[in-house]
Symmetry: C2
DNA sequence: CTGTTAGCGCTTTCAC
DNA sequence: GTGAAAGCGCTAACAG
């Protein structure tokens, strides 16, 4: 199978010792003469040093474990792109494990990775449970979370609450009083609680007529679409969706019901995915820069690995993208009747 | 750093020998008594056997290298999802490397992975060059390509040509004579040549009035959008886009130009991404099942690793999704004037 | 500058 | 059944 040369073979062929070859491969500190000879032999043989033997000695794998809730998501892709941008130049590689949206599996993956001897772990978490904390306590390799936050761990995440607030202030300023928040389970703290609460807080503040109804839906376009009638039943003037995906599903439902957006109902989302712009109307949203999140997360982890401190943060810059799906309401009190 | 227990520690604590512990960890063949003792000690210590030492002996890494053109793409996500579905139950893990859309980097990644001692490699390729073939010849670890095909390698891919044909036949049957094919560079054989040629062949066959103009664009929504005016300049009755993404960009351009789709111009794409359904109008497309591609690719690789043969294939099932963006043309010869 | 010598932690004959 | 011993391929003192 593995008809590869070892460092010993190279040494023999170049008529030097193993260590000289090893030195050639690592620090240097050898004569030009032997250096040339070794270089030549290596060229000829196509020698590659054995990864596992090397790692066994080095106590460093140059591997970073990355735990993801799923693979086929735009945000995950962006995140990975950012992580990779930082890891690669430093010679680190990512070992990716998928949790299939299950917290339990996320925990299994952690111990799994730890066993493989990765130098650090990045977790795009579904929720940080007691199980996570306990497991993390039992070993000392650096871990950085994203997606969720918790005081007991390092994390880098978008400012879900702040994003909610921006949207709350905007929708309110547009003159809406009655909105449906199409959100997700509060098992997901970041999206299900922080983002929603930020919205509600900003929307309700000094706003006596304000009313927010909540409809729980899933993360998928399909489940959002399926929640369409339930949302409509509340007769809101606007529906704020916890993610762009949900917004797109709602938009589709409304379109099929021949309800004009934004004239009859306004719709907004969170995420800022490029696809938001192709819908009709284009989706107004708060955009997150997941690539930046990935970069910050990876950088934080690298700092930790290097023995430095890292600051957790949940205040990454947000950008509000006003497109076409939300419009103003001039008069008060008649919103419900307009539907 | 790594204050972990070794097999020796466990042996001492359990008052047995290293080898007994090793046996416990592997085949078995030890007395119940010692077995219990060892099990207990392992529980207490939280011992995890060293991955690298194990791999060094075993000559098997249980690692599969996966080379991807980029991370933030829906198709890549789906593919990975499928690959993972096969690999995981078999105890394999994926080591992912990204080529940033550069063929040269793809090649670097191959040798990189090979050096790490992966058991096999999956390449979602940008194009199989002589460089690839040469490198692959120099070592003997199993490799399966997807995305592109070549007689000298193993591959599993979607039927690009067949997809093109389906679309060609459809557009033609809808009564269109003059279409613009908004495609990509022919450096990408699969999408740039096979898919396009399939379309042209089916569209032109026994179709004297047929005319296909070609506009080259990039893979991104933005670049497709930017090609809008160039496409329009040909005054086609339909524009067939090499990917859904391109279709979405064109749709957006047309929308902003107040050109009605499909009444004035029909638009179609390839891919079948879920997002195609949120555009307005929803995009008619040929859908690929990338998750299935991922599964077949991974299974093929596993077969190769097990010493079995695998059949390359480029005939994975396709499904045509007729949505709203293409409509029929009744009369001949006046198409251009209608614009 | 270079070769010799120990292991890294694990698996695996090979005797007992 | 179990332990002793011999490495897997590499790096890192340690002498020279």
């Amino acid at each position: 199978m593995d008809s590869k040369y070892t460092i010993q073979d190279i040494a023999d062929m170049a008529k030097v010792s193993k260590s000289t070859v090893s030195r050639y491969l690592n620090q240097g500190y050898i004569s030009q003469e032997k250096m040339d000879k070794i270089k030549q032999v290596i060229k000829e043989t196509g020698f590659q040093s054995n990864f596992f033997a090397k790692r066994l000695k080095m106590k460093q794998s140059k591997l970073i474990g990355i735990i993801l809730p799923r693979m086929d998501s735009v945000t995950v892709g962006k995140l990975l792109e950012g992580v990779n941008r930082i890891l690669e130049p430093e010679g680190y590689q990512g070992l990716i494990l998928v949790s299939d949206l299950k917290k339990q599996k996320e925990i299994c993956n952690i111990s799994n990775l730890q066993q493989q001897g990765v130098d650090g772990i990045i977790i795009d978490s579904l929720g940080i449970t007691r199980g996570h904390l306990q497991l993390l306590k039992s070993f000392d390799i650096p871990v950085v979370f994203t997606g969720q936050q918790h005081t007991a761990v390092h994390y880098v995440k978008i400012d879900d609450e702040g994003a909610g607030r921006i949207m709350g202030a905007y929708v309110r300023q547009k003159g809406h009083h009655h909105v449906v928040f199409a959100g997700v389970t509060n098992m997901d703290r970041a999206v299900g609680i922080e983002r929603k609460q930020g919205f509600i807080d900003a929307f309700m503040e000094n706003h006596p007529k304000a009313k927010v109804d909540f409809v729980k839906t899933g993360f998928s376009f399909e489940s959002a679409y399926a929640s369409g009638s339930e949302i409509l039943a509340f007769k809101p003037t606007a529906v704020v969706c916890a993610t762009d995906n949900i917004g797109l599903g709602v938009l589709r439902y409304l379109h099929e019901q021949k309800i004009k957006v934004p004239q009859e109902i306004s719709v907004a989302g969170f995420g800022g995915y490029a696809v938001g712009v192709v819908s009709y109307p284009a989706l107004t949203t708060v955009a997150f820069d997941y690539e930046l999140v990935g970069m910050k997360t990876a950088q934080g982890l690298l700092d930790l690995i290097a023995g430095k401190k890292m600051e957790s943060q949940s205040n990454l810059p947000l950008s509000f993208i006003e497109r076409e799906s939300v419009c103003g309401r001039q008069r008060d009190g008649v919103d419900k009747d307009r539907i």
